[in-house]
């Protein structure tokens, strides 16, 4: 369930990058300086950071650390 929720969130965020709804608009100027299309992508970047936090917090592949296993020292031929 959790896995599918995060997959859905990742796909949704991918699609939300294509913000056609602000394509032809410069106004409003957010904070008086940022055209709305630029502000949208600033907010998008923050949303991505939140999603990444969620992935780390709730869907981190803990098993990877355990599975790193034997470390072949330098100079040995990879197995």
């Amino acid at each position: 369930m959790k896995r599918w929720l995060f997959i859905a969130l990742v796909v949704a965020l991918y699609l939300l990058h294509q913000d056609y709804w602000f394509w032809f608009s410069a106004k409003p100027l957010v904070f008086g300086i940022l055209p709305v299309g630029l502000f949208y992508h600033v907010a998008y970047s923050v949303a991505v950071a939140v999603l990444m936090w969620g992935l780390i917090r709730f869907a981190w592949p803990d098993h990877l650390e355990d599975e790193s296993g034997h470390h072949v020292s330098s100079g040995e031929k990879p197995s």
Binding site: Y14, K27, G37, L38, W53, S74
Partner: protein, 550 residues
């Protein structure tokens, strides 16, 4: 000249960090020490260095120049798309590359491909493809160095000398410090250019009496109003550009860097904070590049705006030579430097120039990656390490560092400016096309070496086709397109000012679809690797019984 002195001081500091790392590093000549810093980087050095490795001349100079010409679309094209896809690929692929490197002792991705698909020469073909695609990335750093040093010195340091100085400094600390020196320098550089953006915005904003008036002027003028929206950009082009950041994890210097973490948990902070770091550097660069259009009191910028207006108004009357000359004059790769020269006090312009240099010089990781690949994938693989020992292998890598820097410098002198276009058209699209190699190796048991070879051949063929097309059909002036191939009145392939389009999409879309399809089809009709190899890569997790792909 004061800014140039500050920048030269900065170069001296960077050089010293490399020498310091050399003294602190492993002097025994072990390859893993020189090429991977003994897989010992902590989380903050890992975050800042990895981010710095991805930020190059392309980021600060290229993005500001692109925003100067194209407006706000620049941030959406490469900023927010990178903020999403780069941490996501680190989460999905970077962590698994780290595990395999740790488990099997891999130092380069080609070692993993050779082992995973039980192949030798096909691995060499992958090495060659990656090396060819990496060279333009190194070249743009040298070009950016030449542009920056020339600009901050007011032309006293010519372009050729600026590029030479950057090439020599980078070569020196990579030669001496290896991965440890490169990571430390990158960490220092990242801190510098992250502060650069905020300081530059504040000073330029104060100098011009605030940005709101400048933005209002841009909206009110019919010439600049389109820069505040994306009305000139085809949504299909924007959509396909989203694929470009997938290239990041395929760049050898990024996948090799994934191997330097001391544990997989070091990825966590990098994945969370990467989008914020992108925001902190791309937003100021895009915004300043956009705002430069309102700064007609800066002489250098005024010349560029006039050249662009001439291109738009008289495009039918201009010869191709005149068009090319005007396109060079209108190029905005140095607008930030011109702005700082004009508005910032001398001492500050120097400090900010050093911040720009920090990003420009991020070619160190690419140079180190190429030398690592040569030393491991060619020299060691074909018997050099066994015959001459690991110390000679490291020395060979160092010699290769010198050769790469020299070749990049010579190419940088021959290639005309236009940092953004060169990087995107060749290196980024090519590495995105190679992505099925990594997906197949990590997640698909049935993938084969022949599928991998098909991906490499497809990438080389399509890249060559795009390069030949763009060399034979000149770029049209902004606002126009040239149809190259149409079917029943539908433009299939067109030449656009920024490159080439296929049905309105960037070539990277059909290139990636083609390579994915080839990996699937060719792998299905060729024999898979042995069960023993597959067991090593696709073990069963004992704790929960499910198959995991590492």
């Amino acid at each position: 000249m004061i800014p140039a002195l500050v920048v030269f001081t900065y170069l001296g500091v960077v050089l010293y960090i490399g020498i310091f790392a050399f003294r602190r590093g492993d002097r025994g000549g072990a390859a893993e020490g020189y090429f991977l810093a003994n897989r010992s980087l902590g989380q903050y050095v890992f975050l800042l260095s990895l981010f710095g490795t991805n930020m190059t001349a392309f980021t600060i100079l290229g993005s500001a120049g692109h925003a100067f010409a194209n407006g706000i679309v620049t941030y959406g094209l490469m900023g927010s798309s990178s903020a999403f896809l780069i941490p996501l690929t680190l989460y999905l692929f970077g962590t698994r590359i780290w595990v395999l490197g740790k488990r099997h002792g891999f130092i380069t991705p080609v070692q993993m491909y050779r082992d995973r698909w039980e192949c030798g020469h096909i691995g060499t073909a992958i090495f060659a493809m990656q090396a060819i695609l990496l060279v333009p990335y190194i070249v743009i750093a040298v070009m950016g160095g030449g542009t920056t040093l020339s600009a901050v010195s007011g032309g006293v340091v010519p372009y050729w000398l600026g590029g030479l100085v950057v090439a020599v400094v980078v070569m020196s600390y990579v030669f001496l410090g290896g991965m440890r020196g490169t990571a430390w320098v990158n960490t220092f550089q990242t801190v510098l250019f992250l502060t650069f953006g905020a300081v530059a915005i504040i000073f330029v904003g104060m100098s011009i009496g605030g940005f709101p008036q400048a933005m209002q002027r841009l909206i009110d003028s019919p010439d600049t109003a389109p820069l505040m929206t994306r009305e000139r950009i085809d949504p299909r082009f924007f959509f396909s550009y989203m694929l470009i950041p997938l290239s990041s994890i395929m760049f050898p210097h990024i996948s090799i860097f994934c191997l330097t973490a001391s544990k997989v948990g070091q990825f966590k902070k990098t994945i969370i904070f990467y989008p914020i770091c992108i925001l902190a550097i791309w937003l100021p660069c895009t915004f300043l590049g956009l705002a430069a259009n309102a700064m007609t009191d800066v002489p250098g910028i005024e010349v560029k705006i006039e050249a662009r207006a001439t291109l738009a108004d008289e495009r039918e009357l201009l010869s191709s030579a005149e068009t090319a000359e005007l396109q060079r004059a209108a190029a905005g790769d140095d607008v930030i430097i011109l702005m700082l020269e004009h508005y910032a006090p001398l001492w500050l312009a120097g400090l900010l120039g050093a911040g720009i240099m920090a990003a420009v010089m991020a070619s160190d990781s690419q140079i180190l990656a190429l030398s690592t690949m040569f030393a491991e994938d060619v020299f060691a693989y074909y018997g050099g390490a066994a015959r001459f020992g690991p110390a000679v292998q490291v020395q060979t890598g160092r010699i290769f560092v010198v050769l790469i820097a020299l070749v990049a410098y010579v190419i940088a002198l021959q290639v005309p400016p236009g940092i953004f276009g060169i990087a995107v058209q060749y290196a980024f699209s090519g590495f995105t096309t190679l992505l099925p190699l990594l997906v197949g190796a990590l997640f698909w048991k049935r993938s084969t070496k022949w599928g991998a070879l098909a991906v490499v051949i497809w990438t080389a063929t399509t890249m060559t086709a795009v390069a030949v097309l763009q060399a034979t059909v000149p770029a049209p002036v902004p606002g126009t397109i040239v149809s190259v191939w149409d079917i029943n009145g539908i433009d299939v392939v067109t030449r656009i000012p920024g490159g080439t389009a296929v049905l309105g999409f960037m070539p990277v879309l059909p290139m990636l679809l083609g390579s994915s399809l080839l990996m699937l089809v060719v792998s299905w009709v060729t024999p898979p690797p042995t069960a023993e190899t597959l067991t090593r890569y696709f073990s069963t997790n004992q704790t929960n019984g499910r198959a995991v792909s590492v």
